[in-house]
Symmetry: C2
């Protein structure tokens, strides 16, 4: 029947990645986006010898000569121009973040001082040259690369971008994605379905799965009418980088999607994958447009998006797309059919190890079971019995659970 393996399906998909171009955006909006330029240090870091404790700045030599009492000559706050210690037998009060005063090379913190009548008395007998001073350029030098192109921007990168004054930053443009449902049985979320109808839900699940990738997708619904389908899909193929379909790819009389995509010169790359759920998955290309047509049952759509669309997007924008997330099966499980099985599991972390426990579902169409699970465990096709303690890849969909 021409079923291909999940491995082969993913390989084909990953050979069909696309670039979406580059755009400049305000740095604070770049969280979760992918950097498309190298970011350099615009000065040394620290840019000056920076006081790293509140206290007094004095001369190492003076201390070594035995001086323990220092007249306070002045004060060096953070954010003020560097002042000078004129008499190196004196000291200057200096604050965390301030420039180290000229002629001083030691900071002694307030905790080790008594200050009376403008004299700081030091209660220690040993200091180190340059102690409590964060030396100019110790972290980075002017011109050093701080962030490399293709970095996925986290809060740490946001801080660096602010520090070097990258008010606007180059990132990958996000793909324009249209998510399309078909099927005359579907009604809108705010409608009361008749007995033979159900509400549209898959497109919204997909919207929210894409939101986790910072993609703002649009949605549309098309009735099961060949002419309407063809006209609308043709338009969407023009306007979007990616079309995601949910449904109408199986063997039903009204499963028009493969036929219509063929009519529109979309090249089928494969149809049907040896997996459960999600067997009737169809994937194709038309020039630089990419079409994922997922099967219509809710769980098929859900897991296919995680398994195929996520890495396709990640490779397209230049970040890591390998799934390095694995879990240990916490109890025996068997699944006789020789297809890859995406098992719904609960995830637990114990002593640094991730354990996956099967959720007893009621068939692939049961969306409600997904709320008890937090990931899919990917069980390979070439085995039927999976033993407690074995390790398999997982696809997670909750961030804080």
């Amino acid at each position: 029947m021409g079923l291909i393996s999940t491995h082969k399906a993913l390989e084909i998909i990953l050979n069909e990645t696309e670039g979406f171009g580059v755009e400049g955006i305000p740095f604070l909006e770049s969280l979760g986006r992918v950097l498309k330029e190298d970011i350099y240090a615009d000065r040394d870091f620290p840019p000056f010898n920076r006081v790293s404790m509140d206290g007094i700045a004095l001369s190492f030599d003076a201390f070594e000569r035995g001086l323990r009492e220092f007249k306070i000559e002045g004060i060096q706050p953070a954010g003020s121009k560097q002042i000078t210690l004129h008499n190196t037998n004196n000291c200057i009060e200096a604050m965390t973040g301030a420039v180290l005063p000229h002629n001083s090379d030691v900071i002694i913190p307030y905790e080790l001082l008594d200050i009376k009548n403008g004299i700081a008395k030091v209660n220690i007998n040993e200091v180190k040259y340059f102690q409590n001073i964060h030396k100019k350029s110790m972290d980075r030098n002017f011109g050093d690369i701080l962030l490399r192109e293709n970095t996925l921007i986290s809060s740490a990168e946001i801080g660096v971008l602010a520090t070097v004054g990258k008010n606007k930053v180059k990132v990958t443009r996000q793909p324009k994605v249209m998510i399309i449902s078909t099927g005359d049985e579907l009604v809108e979320v705010d409608q009361i379905p008749q007995n033979h109808q159900i509400r549209r839900s898959n497109v919204y699940t997909l919207v929210s799965l894409l939101k986790r990738l910072n993609i703002q997708a649009e949605t549309a619904h098309i009735q099961d009418d060949k002419f309407t389908l063809k006209t609308k899909i043709e338009k969407y193929l023009e306007a979007y980088d990616v079309l995601l379909f949910s449904g109408a790819v199986s063997k039903g009389k009204f499963d028009f999607i493969p036929e219509i995509l063929d009519d529109l010169d979309v090249e089928k790359r494969f149809h049907r994958v040896s997996q459960r759920p999600g067997k009737p998955f169809w994937f194709g290309k038309k020039n630089h447009k990419t079409i994922f047509a997922f099967p219509g049952n809710p769980v098929s759509t859900f897991v296919s998006c995680l398994k195929y669309f996520y890495p396709w997007y990640q490779k397209s924008v230049g970040v890591n797309y390998q799934n390095n997330d694995f879990a240990v099966l916490s109890e025996d499980f068997s699944f006789p059919p020789e297809v890859t099985y995406f098992l719904q599991v609960k995830i637990e972390s114990k002593n640094g190890t991730i354990y996956a426990t099967p959720i007893k579902g009621k068939g692939s169409g049961d969306l409600a079971n997904l709320v008890d699970a937090s990931a899919f465990l990917e069980l390979p096709a070439d085995k039927s019995n999976f033993v407690k303690g074995e390790v398999f890849p997982i696809l997670r969909y909750r961030d804080f659970k």
Copy 2:
């Protein structure tokens, strides 16, 4: 000196959680928010005996009586009202998602049929009663609770909300958060700092860390002037649920924050925690307003937000706030001071186990090292030598790395 342990600090903070009320929002905007109502099945799921494969619907009895050829009486598409099999020696073509036709109780998929001249010939000799039919109410009954209050909404919950027609959903209102920087050394991101100045970065790091919790925080900068500080902070205490400060909580001459908060009748709960980085952390309350005053160095601010603000928020809105994220130290590490140490680490997953490898930093102020790391490993105060293979809590700040 009155330092308290990180454990005690967190305990105090978690005793000071707040509620922010409830609001109704469009369900599609509720990803990452916390549900504040139970969600019920508004009908049975499936709501009817649902055909789960494309093929023919027929009578089990007829098949058992030996019939193998069935005249096709009609077609039952998904989304159409239930039709009736009038002659139980015949069959009806029925599509995935359709209502099972009246008088039929078996679905045989197209793969097992030959259809010619309106007659479906069945190529098997055994069927099961109700095969390939997803039975009415098999998943859930009308009135069952599908989602419970206090669920953190993932894409799975979005799908359920759509399915039951919850167009608007009750979620916790998010706290109104003002993030305040002080310090005359700070200039805006789009400005060129003078030699003794640096750019404002901590507030933006915090904005982005809060964005991961779906909180849209605001920011302000106040110069180091007592009158201005007091006037502005007083106003912010009125208008916001939470104030986050970065800086001016140490022992410097211009570290006015604790004094001014005291003037404004904010009750100090603690000042200074036995941790590195982040020792001068100050925490207080004024009625239902909560004030986190983090130390000003970038890494202190960063880790303190993850360690203290995150669980405070999570407990406040009613979701799990326990850190169940642990990692195995991948090499020996020693840190003699008897304080909790937040070690910057790289995270790797091998065979289902999470390993943490130390990043060699250059002091707590070095934001640039955070870009090489992806988490902090929390090393307890009562030990100095940490051995390869030991397990410690981690605080992660990257989602896809």
